[in-house]
Symmetry: C2
Subunit: 357 residues, 2 copies
């Protein structure tokens, strides 16, 4: 198939630093190329890909030092370029969150598919979607669909990672610690993680960024609980420190309090064989195999029992479950299967006809 | 003429508090209604207008307490509604800054006109505009066009205010003070205003908001210079305090250091008969009649001499110049004339034909 991917322009693909969406696009595009598809990526010019890159802006918006940038104008220009070249592709896969591409492709929604990578409980989304109700959508979890249940959902594809990206650490340090990785925001509930660790008597290591919006919460609620001994704060860690941090952890704590549509760090932990104790929120029930790769809990008491259980899991089985369910190849195959179904629906017999030529 | 106006959804029309764009839209829409046109306003549902309101969102985005809002989805839904009803209007006038409407109307640019209300020196604007080069644009000053000089500019219409909105104060307090009104940002250069006042020996009164982004600048640079006697800081003032503040000032200082495309406060001062001393930046040369309504200067020394001169101006002549050049009625007539030209160009003889029926 001739497949176009259209990435947001906020970060390059892959992102230079943080950017879950752009990382997933990288793995998916590379996976589709490996499967033999002809893939074109519309993205910022500082992107690097095994597909054919169409650089639609000199560099990604966020790290561009130019003081005045228009994200709307940048994305409009990109979408116009995609529209002009639409005939070159069998299917055009959009990774934009808020429907900016719909007006451009309203005469050909069946040639497109959209993966929104974020939460969907924005007030304005259902009203806007109802105006373009035919656009096929793919969710990154079943839970993600809930606030936009009436959309034309054609599949769910869980994220995946390349199997060689992260590997279990053969000889881990013992005894381990509990790990918390992510932004130190109210939504992520680091306070719960600290209480769980304190009451299990295990050390907690926190590797996380404090964003501008989260400073007041951090200084008021989290910082007073960091003693440097039983609760240690490492600041933000780079990609190269992640293996050590997640791979040596006894378990990852993910006690979130928001409708997380996927939770990439959860499968990253699994890739290292590290089990996860997560709060019953968002997509956690879909991502975690209860009793195999982790536990999903509803309370601090539940979490404490879960830590006791999860730290005794066979880490080889955690890794095996990861390989089976969350590989980039599986993700690419899942998406390719949906593209095929969409093409069959759009023009039945089309692919057979093409074979006859 | 049947005229549609399409307002941004960030603030209601008129705005509940601050919002220059939405105030101008109010005056323009009311002015066109008074001229006898059939006017429809697409705006948030908390707007109030003499035109026919099409409420496309229950309330304006900025003050909506709902935590998650999508400005893109909100504006897309509005633009889809405008597009569906396009045949009801002779001309559709957009007040959006960054071209979000272009894809919707690319088959009928000649039926639209766009007034961008902000600065245009954003990196992404020229590249995006080149993809829709036929959309007619109206600038709010000649200077505003400069970063997008190649656009299809069909006219410049300076802003205007209703003549009865602000009136000179008959018996002003003497001796007067110098006034500074606006955000306390680096761009507005309150530090220059303070130095000018200090060196002229006149009192400076500052009425201004300190935005989130400007806090560090305010505390570091401006606050140490406020002594409460020769430099007085009043905080943000409401619409009801503006008459007293501007009307009693000997002159308004506007020593900006950015390409201000218009500068609404400058004509507000003139409405009270208050002359303006402004820096040679942005559209100031177009707005100020040198030696009549104020002076445009290049240096602190120049500003000091200008204050000496301007405070001796005949304030009746300042008001007279305001009435001649910056009334809302003049603004509405100017826009209506451009609409007429656009319609004649789009379909010559059309209006004559309509008269014959």
């Amino acid at each position: 198939m001739r497949i176009a991917h259209v990435a947001p322009l906020f970060e390059s693909v892959p992102p230079r630093y943080y950017g879950g969406t752009e990382r997933i696009i990288t793995y998916l595009v590379d996976g589709l190329v490996e499967l033999g598809h002809e893939v074109t990526l519309f993205a910022s010019g500082d992107s690097k890909t095994t597909a054919t890159l169409v650089p639609v802006r000199d560099q990604a918006l966020r790290l561009d030092p130019y003081p005045l940038k228009s994200q709307i104008a940048a994305h409009l220009a990109m979408l116009d370029e995609v529209r002009r070249r639409a005939d070159e592709f069998d299917i055009i896969h959009f990774h934009l969150s808020h429907f900016l591409h719909f007006p451009f492709f309203q005469d050909m929604p069946e040639r497109t598919v959209t993966t929104p990578h974020g939460r969907l409980d924005y007030k304005d989304l259902p009203g806007a979607y109802r105006r373009w109700p035919h656009f096929p959508m793919i969710s990154i979890s079943h839970r993600q669909r809930q606030p936009l249940a009436e959309a034309n959902w054609v599949g769910t594809v869980h994220h995946g990672l390349p199997l060689d990206l992260y590997k279990p650490i053969p000889r881990r340090q013992e005894p381990g610690y509990l790990a918390f990785l992510g932004r130190l925001s109210r939504d992520k509930r680091p306070d719960r993680a600290i209480e769980i660790a304190r009451r299990t008597g295990m050390k907690l290591r926190i590797a996380a960024k404090v964003g501008e919006d989260d400073r007041a919460y951090f200084h008021g609620t989290v910082e007073p609980l960091i003693d440097g001994v039983s609760v240690e704060y490492l600041g933000e860690i780079g990609e190269d420190q992640k293996a050590d941090f997640l791979g040596n952890a006894a378990a990852l704590l993910f006690p979130i309090d928001w409708p997380e549509p996927f939770g990439l760090v959860v499968i990253e932990a699994m890739a290292f064989g590290t089990p996860v104790v997560a709060w019953n929120s968002g997509a956690m029930h879909e991502i975690i195999d209860e009793g195999v790769t982790g536990h999903v809990v509803d309370s601090i008491d539940g979490a404490i029992a879960a830590v006791g259980s999860a730290t005794k899991f066979d880490r080889n089985l955690v890794r095996a479950a990861f390989e089976k369910r969350f590989s980039a190849t599986r993700m690419a195959r899942d998406y390719a299967a949906i593209y095929g179904q969409l093409l069959d629906t759009a023009s039945p017999g089309r692919r057979i006809g093409a074979m006859a030529v």
